[in-house]
């Protein structure tokens, strides 16, 4: 049984897929930074950025709604931003008495909340597009070209590799337990709660032990085949004229978004 829930790369051939990974990394980071420094409530700039996202979606042959459909992963992070609604600056809109505390949402706070929401939502979508159109070794390779410290790239590479080991191991354990989770007619099944907890606890221990032992074996196999700390890829990394063009054009678009955001 395989799990590829984490492997977001989508095999397609498109203009975006063929771009040099360095370009994609630089543009993604620039886009995220740009979103971060846009002032609160610059809706027109946010809309422009979103338009840019749609263009990338379209160019990568994944369908216009691709990144939007996958962007729900930011939902938990919204919880963090929710406190912004009750910012003490600005005019109060209402007053909610919860007994132990009184919450006062303000207009300023509301604008800030939605701006934070939009910013992170846009940024996450671009990151989703980056991993959907770039194979992981290429991404690591790009990081190395961009002078990210080796320690970091190695950690990221192994994290990615072992994520699958861990989830696969967890999946096997759960399946084994499921296969023997039987019952008898007219008999209360499932055993005592304490026993079930103990089983689950020891399964967590097993998961750690096994993943550890397996990752050790995988690492040995990597060493045996000459792993030196680099993830290699056969894809040639050579900047073409199209790559430079895209880089310059994208940076201009991002500058334009900033312009729209600050000049009102």
């Amino acid at each position: 049984m395989h799990i590829n829930a984490f492997d977001r790369f989508h095999f397609h051939d498109s203009f975006i897929h063929r771009l040099d990974p360095r370009i994609k990394v630089v543009v993604t980071v620039a886009f995220i930074l740009s979103n971060a420094i846009l002032p609160d409530g610059s809706w027109l700039a946010f809309a422009t950025a979103w338009l840019g996202l749609l263009v990338v979606n379209d160019l990568s042959n994944l369908g216009l709604g691709y990144s939007f459909k996958r962007s729900y992963i930011i939902l938990p992070f919204i919880l963090v931003a929710i406190t912004a609604i009750f910012s003490p600056l600005g005019n109060p809109l209402a007053e909610w008495d919860l007994g132990f505390v009184t919450l006062i949402p303000t207009d300023f706070g509301l604008v800030r909340f939605f701006s934070v929401l939009t910013r992170s939502w846009l940024s996450v979508q671009m990151a989703i597009l980056l991993v959907a159109t770039t194979q992981f070794p290429d991404l690591i390779h790009a990081f190395e070209h961009l002078r990210l410290p080796r320690v970091l790239t190695t950690i990221i590479a192994f994290l990615y590799r072992y994520l699958f080991v861990l989830t696969n191991e967890a999946l096997r354990l759960l399946r084994a337990r499921e296969a023997r989770s039987a019952g008898l007619p007219g008999q209360k099944r499932g055993g005592k709660l304490i026993w079930r907890t103990k089983v689950t606890g020891s399964m967590a221990g097993q998961l750690f032990l096994r993943s550890y032992e397996r990752s050790d074996r995988i690492y040995n196999a990597m060493l045996a085949r000459g792993y030196t700390g680099h993830l290699r890829t056969l894809n040639p990394h050579k900047m073409t004229r199209a790559d430079w063009l895209v880089l310059i054009l994208s940076l201009f678009v991002i500058l334009f978004i900033q312009f729209v955001g600050w000049v009102r």
Binding site: H2, N4, R175, A176, R180, S181, A182, G183, R189, M203
Partner: protein, 252 residues
């Protein structure tokens, strides 16, 4: 020679309408789109010992995972007349003892005792009964006294036997084993064959070990590319050299 699908064979095995296991036109595709089963129909009668052979990737393991509801897909599967649904699932899991190919997939508890006792405890049996069943199951696979050992530090042959004990403790009516003799040394393999020979329950056993099939199983089912290509008496099928060759099986 073209591949023959579903040829008609004279079956000399006791006929029944599949009182233990009945599968009708089972289809299954994995989420990545790989089609593993494309219309499998199969009947198993009380006390029958049946071998399931076929090349790697034929769908044998996928079929076995359906038998106690780990995988569920279109087509009707009846275990002892019960269909596999949420309500019947616990009882079906008690009836069908499924042993995975890799014992590391089967064992999930720290000690051998915990693993063998898991099934009976989950069924809600009283403690004395659980102890009796664990003793019995370990004795059946000749692993008495291994209760306190750590499962993941046993040898391959020992793990395989413990894996079988984990389902025997549940006293299943059908034993479903996925390649039980793979990777065993000759002595352990011999012990396994003798043990399966003496065990008086219905079994469906997938294997590449044709010599074991010849010795142990009167009925044999050949699977290839997600369908059953032959189902009949082992002696007859093993004499059909062309059929065996077509489906990548060794002529004994």
């Amino acid at each position: 020679m073209p591949v023959k699908h579903q040829p008609v064979y004279e079956i000399t095995i006791p006929e029944c309408d599949g009182d233990v296991l009945q599968i009708q036109d089972l289809h299954f595709a994995y989420p990545d789109g790989h089609v593993a089963l494309q219309g499998v129909s199969l009947n198993l009668c009380e006390g029958e010992k049946v071998a399931l052979v076929g090349p790697n990737g034929a769908g044998k393991s996928t079929l076995m995972l359906h038998l106690n509801g780990i995988l569920r897909e279109d087509g009707d599967i009846f275990i002892g007349g019960m269909s596999i649904d949420e309500q019947n699932l616990p009882i079906i899991r008690a009836m069908v003892g499924l042993v995975f190919q890799n014992p590391d997939d089967q064992l999930f508890s720290p000690t051998v005792f915990d693993d063998v006792a898991f099934g009976p405890l989950h069924m809600g049996l009283p403690e004395d009964e659980v102890h009796i069943r664990v003793e019995e199951a370990l004795a059946a696979v000749q692993m008495n006294g291994f209760g306190e050992r750590l499962s993941h530090h046993l040898s391959m042959g020992q793990k395989k036997r413990i894996a079988i004990a984990t389902v025997l403790a549940m006293r299943p009516q059908i034993l479903v084993l996925d390649e039980p003799s793979a990777g065993l040394d000759p002595r352990t393999r011999r012990a396994l064959i003798n043990f399966l020979d003496e065990l008086p329950i219905t079994m469906l056993i997938s294997t590449h070990d044709i010599r074991m099939v010849k010795e142990l199983f009167p009925r044999m089912i050949i699977m290839d590319e997600g369908i059953i290509v032959a189902d009949g008496s082992t002696v007859e099928l093993l004499n059909d050299a062309a059929l065996l060759q077509d489906h990548g099986l060794e002529i004994p």
